[in-house]
């Protein structure tokens, strides 16, 4: 049943390509499709919510190569499907005002969502790669046609980086396929094959970095701020909220599951690193701190949020590297939490502020005293910022809590570094909020005729804040899906480490 999330999205695309569709109809079709996707996910959620892997469909596709069309979902996939559904709906709501080539916009948007759903559901590695690459082209067009600052450059950069990432993954996967006898690409079966250690030692970092590029692993993250800033609001929400999670999901689901021995100690030390785990943990930490520090000095409002995404994804990657149940759970939870919150932050910056004031320069906004004219936007941004710094009561807190607990045992110094990153996070968020909304600079106030916040925007905001609040106050809803999933046999190789 969950496979219908994919099919509905692509059916939506087809519906939008019909010649007689008006912009109004296009928006409604898109909204219905997005809601349909979420409804399907919730249906699957209620149907079986114990977090274990359920196979949805498994048919041979290319028998001579052992490739199957195999979709399945476990707790982790369900959480991410939920995230996609929520952010998709919010994205459609926040794009309600797009007038230029509306049909094509929503067509590309739904195609992207369909691809993302596909990645989260695929168990056959070939199929996963297919959906992963399907998602690249709509991203390009969304940014290049409807974007803003330097959109063509940003779109090309994003597309090429993503493609390079998937190329790296392709190399690793084909090599694994061949070394294991070329009989199957199935994610359940593959990990049981004892890949030789030296093979895992180079295949693991290759595939991890390949997915890591999309996840914003430092130093391969440079596409992210440029891309997010250039993209139109809904695309930024999806990019930062969901697509970056594709990368992290790939790291967990593919790299770490297929090549668990790749994380083992090398036996020798280079510059203080003894294994790929040390290297990637440090890169994650650098991402956290670097992203935060660069966000602190930005003049463009959207760039602040863009760099903050890099910083938050660093938490996800750090959590993955802790290899403990609490750390991995925190990583998955952070994927969900940051997805929602990044969506909300970009919505405020892009849709509520930029579409009205046509500027993102903090110095200009400082003079506009926006909290008087669009208090809803100000309040939303305040709540979203607090949630994203990890204020208790919102989803970010529990996620970061778990990652930090996990990090304490594995990399105590990095845990302190991450704490430092949180403090800087507070600083840049607060700076942005003060300058953009409660600015005290002398200057003419904004034109009093700023359009009020429309109904679709309010609904979208409520959806996102509601999701973050619910999970923040009652994280058991998601935790009871994720923890059994992490305890399943699929992760047994990882578990030998320390659980």
């Amino acid at each position: 049943m969950l496979a219908w999330t994919i099919y509905i999205s692509f059916l939506g695309v087809l519906a939008l390509l019909l010649p007689k569709v008006t912009p109004r109809a296009a928006r409604i079709i898109a909204l219905l499709t997005a809601v349909g996707g979420l409804a399907t996910t919730l249906g699957g959620f209620l149907h079986r919510s114990d977090g274990t892997m359920i196979t949805i469909i498994r048919v041979p596709w290319i028998p001579s190569l052992g490739i199957e069309y195999h979709l399945a979902a476990d707790g982790i996939s369900l959480v991410l499907l939920l995230l996609t559904g929520i952010v998709a709906i919010a994205g459609v709501l926040f794009s309600w005002n797009i007038e230029y080539r509306t049909k094509e916009f929503f067509a590309f948007y739904l195609a992207l969502i369909g691809g993302v759903y596909g990645v989260f559901l695929s168990i056959d590695l070939f199929l996963l790669l297919v959906f992963y690459e399907i998602a690249i082209i709509p991203k390009y067009f969304l940014i290049a046609i409807w974007g803003s600052t330097r959109r063509e450059y940003a779109a090309m950069k994003l597309a090429l980086y993503s493609f390079v990432g998937s190329a790296l993954v392709l190399i690793g996967l084909i090599a694994a396929y061949v070394v294991a006898g070329g009989k199957t690409m199935n994610l359940f079966v593959r990990p049981r094959f004892p890949f030789p250690l030296h093979f895992q030692m180079w295949a693991f970092p290759l595939v991890f970095i390949g997915f890591g590029i999309l996840a914003g692993l430092w130093p391969f993250h440079t596409w992210a701020p440029t891309g997010h800033v250039a993209a139109p609001t809904a695309a930024s929400m999806l990019l930062a909220g969901v697509v970056m999670k594709l990368g992290a999901y790939g790291c967990l689901r593919v790299a770490m599951t297929l090549f668990p021995r790749g994380l083992d100690s090398w036996g020798f030390h280079v510059l203080g690193f003894g294994s790929w785990r040390d290297v990637f943990a440090l890169l994650a930490l650098i991402g956290i701190v670097y992203g935060a520090m660069v966000a602190l000095v930005q003049q463009d409002f959207k760039f602040v949020i863009g760099y903050s995404s890099v910083s938050h994804m660093g938490f996800v990657l750090l959590g993955l590297m802790t290899l403990s149940q609490v750390g991995l759970t925190g990583a998955v939870l952070q994927m969900f939490s940051h997805g929602i919150l990044a969506g909300l932050l970009f919505a405020v910056v892009g849709r509520m502020v930029y579409d009205r004031t046509h500027t993102r320069d903090l110095a200009m906004l400082d003079k506009m005293h926006l909290y008087k004219f669009i208090p809803f936007a100000a309040a939303t941004f305040v709540i979203a910022s607090m949630a994203s710094i990890g204020l208790p009561g919102f989803s970010g807190f529990v996620a970061e809590l778990q990652v930090l607990i996990g990090a304490w045992s594995a990399f105590p110094l990095y845990a302190i570094g991450a704490g430092f990153g949180i403090v800087i996070g507070v600083a840049y968020t607060w700076r942005a909020m003060q300058k953009a909304f409660i600015g005290e600079a002398e200057g003419t106030s904004a034109d009093h005729s700023l359009p009020p916040i429309s109904i679709p925007e309010r609904v979208g905001t409520l959806v996102l804040i509601g999701a973050s609040l619910v999970i923040g106050l009652y994280p058991q809803l998601l935790l009871k899906l994720v923890i059994p999933a992490l305890n399943s046999p699929l992760f047994s190789n990882l578990r030998k480490e320390s659980w």
């Binding site: 208790p392 778990q402 607990i405 409660i438 923890i483």
Partner: protein, 518 residues
């Protein structure tokens, strides 16, 4: 256990009030004010009911509620009150209506202002009753945000810097707290204050920390000390202790006086409460190892802040430094009580006295300081915003009732016997002298200097030649007199009959001292 969820209900009242004020108060400002005030009165009433039903004889936690919240990481919804918590709840419940009354005339966005105050109150109620770290941290942070906005949006000319400083200091402290407790959780698998205290008493805390956090070549005691420093930082910023105090004078000065009442009346007590509830039971051993330094910090806080107050010209700043000074006595009492005294019964009694004094001082100072800031706000209203020490003179002739009542509050702050301020300080000194004689002796300097600056206020503002500008200043109206009556009355009542509060807290304190005996 898990009887009628009284405390959850109590915490929910200001939350509901805040949401109501925010949603419905936008149209009608009066409605906002009235709703907020009624909500705070309801909370006060509930707190009084709680006091009535509280069993003062036992030192145990009462009205406990325990629910599982996030089992995977040991987070529980766990709260309860003992004597300490009850007194703090009462203080919050009293100060908040005072603050609302003092801010009755706020012009811009009153619904937001009052709802922020109510959110703050909910945060306070939660902080003073929570017993599981994550649960407690949630409310700790919840109280921080409204305070920031209260300063930032309604404050004086330098409010941006003041608010930011306030926020940054407190955040850094909070993060340090969080990291330290996460480390503790990693090693002991528990976030619960009570069980952690027990672990510490059994001497199992340090080995647990050392085994799981075996950072290369560090001795177990050093690891525990580092964790202790993290937690200490979190609370030291809040009290504040010198040298972490620099955020306080600007914040108190720039905020609207109604806000400052809250800040000084309740939020500063959060820091001291943290020392009592968390640091003392769990980290007593570490405190002992650095006791001398801590005592000196306390003395520095007391003395230096008093001298600083002497040098100020702005009434609010004087009172701000005086706040630091008064809480310094609390810290002195706590640190002295941490000293290892084995089974000595006499010294145990001294500790009981010291801690009794600390809690009493918290309550009294909260009330008195809040009242004093209320008076300053009334004065500001009449003077059109001026509040410098030298701006006034001879006001006694023009507004005698005002000066009389403010004089009472000032004398209470000074520690005049017969008013509530005396007992707390007396008990603290009574307890600290045997335990840490030299520090107590030095702390007396603080008392002297406090007397000087308070008398200076009395002299410059109330007495002396009349400043012609204020010859037509209106005195307190009937409404204001009625509003100010309760706090002044309490000052007298508690001054003459402190047993009212002491009776409630004594058994709790005795238990606390017993727990520190190891």
């Amino acid at each position: 256990m898990n009887a009628f969820p009284f405390i959850s209900l109590l915490t929910a009242v200001p939350l509901i009030g805040a949401l109501g004020t925010l949603s419905f108060g936008a149209r009608n400002k009066n409605f906002a004010r009235n709703l907020a005030f009624s909500s705070s009165i309801v909370a006060l009433a509930l707190t009084l009911v709680l006091c009535y039903r509280f069993d003062s004889g036992s030192g145990e936690l009462q009205f406990q509620e325990l629910h599982s919240w996030i089992p995977a990481i040991g987070v529980e919804y766990h709260l309860g009150v003992d004597g300490l918590g009850l007194v703090m709840l009462l203080l919050s419940a009293i100060v908040v209506p005072m603050s609302i009354a003092a801010s009755w005339q706020v012009k811009e966005g009153p619904q937001l202002y009052f709802s922020l105050i109510l959110f703050l109150q909910a945060g306070l109620f939660g902080t003073f009753t929570a017993l599981n770290f994550v649960h407690w941290f949630f409310f700790w942070e919840l109280s921080l945000i409204p305070a920031f906005f209260l300063i930032r949006l309604w404050g004086g000319p330098q409010r941006a810097t003041a608010a930011t400083q306030f926020f940054v200091y407190t955040m850094v402290g909070s993060v340090a707290l969080l990291l330290a407790f996460l480390a503790i959780f990693q090693c002991t698998n528990s976030f619960d204050f009570i069980s952690l205290g027990e672990l510490a008493r059994n001497g199992q805390l340090i080995p647990a920390l050392a085994s799981k956090l075996g950072w290369h070549r560090l001795a177990a005691e050093i690891i525990a000390l580092i964790i202790f420093c993290g937690v200490f930082l979190g609370f030291a910023v809040k009290v504040p202790l010198i040298p972490f105090h620099t955020w306080l004078p600007p914040a108190y000065a720039e905020a609207q006086s109604g806000t400052t009442m809250l800040l000084t009346g309740t939020m500063s007590k959060m820091g001291v409460y943290g020392f009592l509830r968390i640091l003392l039971p769990i980290f007593c051993v570490e405190m002992r190892s650095v006791l001398t330094h801590l005592l000196w910090l306390a003395v520095a806080t007391i003395v230096l802040s008093a001298f600083a107050a002497l040098a100020q010209n702005d009434l609010k700043r004087i009172l701000a430094y005086s706040s630091i000074n008064h809480l310094g006595y609390c810290m002195l009492g706590i640190f002295a009580a941490a000293r290892f005294t084995g089974d000595s019964a006499a010294l145990a009694t001294d500790k009981v006295a010291a801690l009794d004094g600390v809690i009493l001082q918290m309550f009294n100072h909260g009330l008195t300081a809040a009242t004093l800031f209320w008076f300053v706000s009334l004065l500001e209203k009449r003077s059109g915003g001026l509040r410098g020490l030298n701006d006034f003179g001879g006001l006694r002739k023009v507004i005698p009732v005002f000066c009389g009542l403010m004089g009472i509050a000032l004398f209470s702050s000074l520690g005049l016997p017969g008013l509530n301020g005396f007992i707390g300080e007396f008990l603290i000194f009574r307890g600290v002298f045997p335990l840490a004689t030299w520090t107590a002796a030095l702390a007396v300097i603080g008392l002297l200097v406090t007397a000087i600056f308070i008398l200076t206020i009395l002299q410059r503002v109330f007495s002396g030649p009349l400043n012609e500008r204020w010859s037509t200043m209106p005195d307190l109206s009937i409404g204001e007199r009625l509003a100010l009556l309760p706090p002044i009355a309490i000052m007298f009542v508690l001054g003459l009959y402190p047993q009212l509060v002491l009776g409630v807290i004594n058994s709790t304190v005795v238990k606390m001292v017993q727990q520190v005996r190891y």
